[in-house]
């Protein structure tokens, strides 16, 4: 009941936001949605473990829903018109906020859904709302990015759908069953392994468009480059989590069959290739948003490695996913401020940020430490656990190249970020800099602090949620 109410109210709010032209009414509706989102998260936690129609309040879904709610509040209240504010009209504002509300709603529903086809439908809705956000600037570049994003995501969703069809062939005559994850997990050992393997290949490669792994990661990069920064922050954090959920739920079915080790190998290949691609591009990238997008690809590679390695790796993968969400979304929002000061995304034309916006520059420095997984960043803990699990599962020949590539990534990120912070650039006119809002900067610091806090001394409640999610795989 709560789920349906939430769905209908957010849909109505999104439509009203589309139609509305008044600024204060717009803000009031966004605030109302934030309240609704918080209330829905609270209600879902109260109803933990319950099955409602096609939705189940299980621990993985709840954990990611909580993370989404935390990240979406600053994302919704951040300015999106950092640059070219004069081209913004009430209509573009309406489309922006309507699409954001729709995106957050679809993500929440996709996390909680307990039916493989329902997950698919909501992932489809995230594609549609995300493409409206990518298209926001209406320049030739954003049209190109939107076109690529819609096209690649549509093809990927067709792949997922084919995977679901193969899965239903695998079910074949196995009695009366439906496509909920629970019942699929129960009958998993009886399923035909050939069709399961085929289904996994298609579903996995389909969801990589969201998850950000080889083969389908490409469109996501362009989308994060062209979307307004708060939206890009959501794309490179919570939207990637939805791909993880899609893969995780299907992998959960496979852990009860003999296909599991085969599927882990597929994931390891994809993960190592992703980290490789991220390394290569990070070494030559010139655009600061694309740089962060490639760094997300690398982190998702680490998550997939943890999931494939098993053991403590399951725990580490989920922890890494959550911490990466906070670190990367706040970093993207800070890039909005950087963009506001320098009016460019080109790393070669950005420099000496410390002089122009000190709080933002300090944040960027700390976020660099966080995102490259150096202590005291929480990502250090999770990455360390992932490597430990790889070591324990005898994947040392995977571990060594991955560590070498990560070293390259730290160097590449460090080179670019330190250049932006300290090296002055020629011909930069510092006379009319717009000062970024300090409330927004504080919210970024809070997200970053969460990354450290949850990694170093995680509260029991948080650890329990992750452990329960891991139990879905091991029981």
């Amino acid at each position: 009941m709560t789920v349906i109410a939430y769905f209908v109210i957010s849909l109505v709010l999104a439509l009203l936001l589309f139609a509305n032209k008044n600024k204060s009414l717009n803000n009031a509706m966004v605030a109302l949605f934030v309240v609704l989102q918080c209330a829905f998260t609270y209600m879902s936690f109260m109803a933990k473990g319950e099955n409602l129609l096609y939705f189940k309040m299980d621990s993985l879904g709840l954990l990611l829903l909580l993370v989404l709610t935390i990240v979406s509040i600053p994302a919704l209240f951040h300015r999106y018109d950092y640059i070219y504010a004069e081209t913004e009209t009430p209509r573009t504002r309406g489309i922006y906020y309507g699409a954001m509300v729709l995106l957050v709603m679809a993500l929440s529903m996709a996390y909680l859904s307990s039916h493989i086809a329902v997950t698919w439908i909501f992932v489809e809705i995230t594609t549609l709302s995300a493409s409206a956000l990518v298209y926001h600037r209406r320049s030739a570049g954003s049209i190109e990015a939107t076109w690529k994003y819609i096209f690649v995501c549509s093809i990927s969703l067709v792949f997922v759908f084919i995977g679901i069809l193969f899965l239903s062939i695998a079910l074949g005559s196995v009695a009366e069953t439906n496509l909920t994850y629970d019942s699929l997990t129960q009958i998993a050992p009886k399923l035909d392994t050939f069709w399961l393997k085929l289904a996994f290949v298609f579903i996995f490669s389909g969801y990589t468009a969201k998850f950000g792994l080889v083969p389908m990661y490409t469109a996501g990069i362009d989308a994060k480059d062209k979307a307004p920064t708060p939206a890009a922050g959501l794309f490179s954090s919570v939207l990637m989590n939805v791909g993880f959920v899609g893969v995780f739920r299907f992998y959960q079915i496979l852990t009860h069959t003999q296909v599991q080790s085969w599927a882990s190998h597929v994931m390891i290949i994809s993960a190592v290739l992703s980290i490789f691609v991220a390394t290569v591009y990070l070494l030559k990238v010139k655009n600061v948003k694309r740089m962060l997008a490639y760094s997300s690809i690398e982190h998702m590679g680490v998550v997939a490695l943890g999931l494939a390695a098993g053991g403590i790796g399951y725990y580490a993968a989920i922890l890494h996913l959550v911490l990466h969400t906070f670190a990367k979304s706040s970093l993207f929002m800070q890039i909005g401020h950087l963009y506001m000061v320098f009016k460019t995304k080109d790393i070669y034309q950005i420099g000496n940020y410390f002089t122009y916006n000190t709080p933002g520059a300090v944040f960027l420095l700390l976020a660099f430490v966080c995102v490259t997984a150096m202590p005291p960043s929480g990502l250090f803990v999770s990455e360390f656990l992932v490597f430990k699990s790889l070591f324990a599962a005898n994947y040392i020949y995977v571990l060594v190249p991955v560590l070498i590539m990560l070293t390259f990534i730290i160097w590449a990120l460090g080179k670019n970020i330190f250049k932006m912070l300290f090296t002055p650039v020629d011909g930069f006119d510092a006379s009319n800099i717009t000062k970024p809002s300090c409330v927004e900067t504080v919210s970024q610091y809070i997200l970053l602090l969460l990354t450290v806090y949850l990694g170093i001394c995680p509260p029991d409640f948080f650890v329990n949620l992750i452990n329960e999610a891991v139990q879905l795989l091991t029981l």
């Binding site: 549609l128 067709v158 759908f161 694309r290």
Partner: protein, 209 residues
């Protein structure tokens, strides 16, 4: 009977690979729509009447009439040149398409599927891979959309194979069809056409590292 229809569908794929005008593509698409309608008519006998009627009407109206007409409208409106402009010679396209069909045929004979009529599997996978191949080798953006519709036709065939046990999935396939195709075409091609005049993929290469 179904087998004959599906074989004709596979033959249309070969025709697709050598067709050199956009309008020919559209005629093939609407012909495929009719074929799919007939297959659905013959196969989905266990379904309830309302759902059955919905699917038949959808394949006939949307796949065979509305989508081709709509794409035609977009082509006329944006004054896109009527040739397909492939990157590779038609002969090579024909050869590759034939190889794809042969390979999926061989693949399907290697597997043991008790619950599946293999001809569905062969046709659907051939349509998928041919669609992907044609997307890669054709220059125009509008041909990408046409090939996407081709892939969806293939997926629809696959969903018919499990249609009697899982009617939900057939409906989902239809949903994908209507939703994405209309979205892709209606909202976007207009904009792409306005900004990028000739609708050539070479103009979509400014975003890179």
């Amino acid at each position: 009977m179904t087998n004959i229809l599906l074989i004709i569908f596979a033959i249309t794929l070969l025709y697709f690979s050598i067709a050199n005008r956009l309008m020919t593509y559209l005629s093939i698409l609407s012909f495929q729509g009719v074929l799919l309608m007939l297959v659905a008519l013959l196969e989905l006998h266990d379904m309830n009447v309302l759902n059955f009627a919905f699917i038949i009407l959808e394949t006939l109206i949307v796949k065979a009439i509305v989508l081709p007409l709509f794409i035609r409208y977009v082509i006329k409106k944006n004054k896109i040149k009527r040739e397909a402009e492939p990157f590779v010679p038609y002969f090579v396209s024909l050869l590759v398409t034939t190889m794809i069909i042969v390979l999926t045929f061989v693949l399907s004979n290697l597997i043991e599927a008790v619950h599946l009529n293999k001809i569905y599997f062969v046709t659907a996978l051939s349509a998928l891979f041919c669609g992907l191949f044609l997307i890669v080798t054709r220059k125009k953006i509008i041909t990408h959309v046409i090939c996407y519709v081709l892939i969806e036709n293939g997926v629809f065939i696959l969903s018919l194979a499990v249609g009697n046990e899982m009617p939900l999935l057939v409906n989902l396939g239809v949903l994908l069809d209507v939703f994405v195709s209309v979205f892709l075409l209606g909202i976007f091609i207009n904009k792409v056409g306005n900004v990028i005049n000739d609708g050539d993929v070479n103009q979509l290469s400014s975003l890179k590292d």
